[in-house]
Amino acid sequence: MEDVHADETREARRLLATAFETVPADPATAGDGLLRAVRRRYARRRRTRALVSAGGAAAAAGTAAAVLLSVTVAGAPPALGAVTSAISRAAAESFRMNLIVTQHNTVPGQPAIQSPLHITGELDLKRNLGEETLSNGWRTLIVGEEAYTELPPRQAKIYGTGGKPWTEEPLWATQPSYESAGAQLAWDFNSDRPFNPQALLALLKSGARVLNEGSVSGPGWTGTRYRFTVSHPDGTGGVVDSITCTVDVDSQGHIRSLAQTTVFVASGKPGTAGEMIYTTDFTFSDFGIRFSVTPPPASQIAHDIGVAIQF
């Protein structure tokens, strides 16, 4: 019995050591690269805290919006200018959103995930407020720099929240943070604030060619449809084959829909080992809507759920 146990332990150590040692090494993410990334997060958090403590969250968002709007529109091709303006505008005001995330997977051995996922709610990027309800029963509130998630009872039990329905996490910890706009956009659909105008604008600014696809209309609006594709975006390690965005802009200059299709290539070589395609379909409405979000009572928030590892 001891021998069996010893053999099992040896085998486990051997397999795990091989898996560990052959993790592809990326100098950009280790050593000084890792330090730089942590420094950026540290500096960003300090800035956010300072602004919030001074009651300056709105001012900060306003500044960010001004920076966004400074993306050169004058002299840009009309299609690029229209899309840039509409996205910049959405960054500076509130709206209702409806989002459907779907996944299509042809990668051998990759499990299918729950799809589609529907998210409805309101976002105010200027005041950093948000409320999102998901079709799987989860709910997220964004208040300033905090994100609160309400878990359905079954999940709360699994994650060991001690009977409390809410969890709290700093928003910065729920948002991916990558140097490249392509990588940011590729993963953003997974964040608690999935609409990321900054990343979209950075991608546009990187030289995307925006095409005018003609007239389009929706309930109570008419406008123009635009499309752009970025192939093999920088900073995605060959995993992302392309990001295609279709943007509808109404005659008032508001963004009305944004459909983003991200094609991941499992092997880094198109056509060799299947693809995984994520599509996020946003629709926007009720621009300028006023709403408030109240954090859940402290007594309902579980702060230490380390027992459950959410890997």
Partner: protein, 180 residues
Amino acid sequence: MRRGAEEFDERFTAFVRSRGEHHLRMATLLTGNPDAAEDLVQASLLKLYRAWSRIDTSGEPDAYLRRIIVNTRRSWWRARWRQETPVPEVPEAAAGEDAAERHAVGALVRQALARLPRQQRAVLVLRYCEDLPEAEVAFLLGCSAGAVKTHAHRGLAALRESLGDLDSFAVNETSGPASG
């Protein structure tokens, strides 16, 4: 000395430089996704740094960081979806045949690990990769030592079944990722 906004304590800097890659590798095994691992380790290091002045780091900062990594609750949404996204496959061109085969097996083991229930995966990584005693793994995961044994046994059985016949694969059994 006053700490500048973007300067870190020298010992923290030295720690990240010397041990960051180790924890990135461990996090890759835990999450099954290099991008998620990178994000997890960055967030955990930030938490560690915020506590750096209050903890005794003359001994073993690794233990603190490991605990933070394990306890860091990731956004459910992101974690649920991101762990399913594809990652680059095995590098084709290694130094030689042995190295290529070793990398191929390593990738297979990581894929098989990624398919395990997360508690089994965590137990295998912490017990056999980080080489932690059963009691410490139980403490980290908030379960009993008996549960650790069970997860380890079942996890390894599932790994073995998933990997099939790897008998032709030979590795140096003395090598390993032990910290230090």
